[in-house]
Symmetry: C2
Subunit: 117 residues, 2 copies
DNA sequence: ATTATCTTTCCATAATACATGAACTATGGA
DNA sequence: TCCATAGTTCATGTATTATGGAAAGATAAT
């Protein structure tokens, strides 16, 4: 993840429609959702949705695969992680208490494996 | 953190100059840096930098305080955490392995307190 | 082959964001 | 008071981006 990559990801998310799409796909998980289904859920026209999906896809935040007539989009969780890592790089300059809230959230979702939290 | 808030944060970061400013301030920590110093470090004109700082400030990602003739900007780490939490909300739908890389990064920076990691 | 469904691409219009020069405000020192 | 330093604000030209109608591409069913 370099800065160009991070910028395209942030720009892709900095748009109400696309942010909703991304969050929807994050919740949907690896199985993803069909383009038309996303458009219906978010009450957006198919061509507009297609453009939004393209932007997210170009940023690498989501990936597309064809299944019959449908095109299924799914969030790319590794890319998302990489983006967040980029933002939190050197986040607290040795002062862990600064980003403790973030750690708490992430650990609530994904508890550390070593020993048990 | 609601979606409007998140959008302004993401939009603020989706700009090369502003992203560099933010990362610089994240590294600088709570002490922050003076506006002019930031402009010099990033080789940007003072008025352009002022506009960039305003956008970040309006998004709540950084905060300003006056010290003599200087205005010191510092990253707002809580806000940053809130934004990342917003993005990772329901991030893995019960599949912790999906966002494990992020957890690893955050924990490397801010190890969980309970027991020792 | 024809038709229906799902999605994308093309194109024109409208809206928004960006960088810069010039002017302005605020603080501190002589 | 006068001046220098530190930042900000304003106006403007430019460029990028978003949207939706119309048409086209791809797949499946009859």
């Amino acid at each position: 993840m370099d800065i160009t990559n991070a910028l395209s990801g942030l720009a892709a998310l900095a748009h109400e429609g696309r942010l909703c799409v991304f969050r929807l796909l994050v919740k949907a998980g690896p199985d993803g959702l069909a383009a038309g289904e996303i458009a219906r859920k978010l009450d957006t026209q198919p061509n507009t949705m297609s453009a939004q999906l393209l932007v997210l896809s170009n940023a690498g935040l989501i990936a597309a695969r064809r299944e019959g007539r449908s095109i299924i989009y799914a969030a790319d969780f590794e890319k998302m992680s990489a983006l967040l890592q980029f933002l939190t790089k050197d986040c607290c300059g040795g002062r862990p208490e600064i980003c403790a809230p973030l750690a708490a959230t992430v650990n609530a979702c994904c508890p550390p494996k070593k020993r048990r939290a």
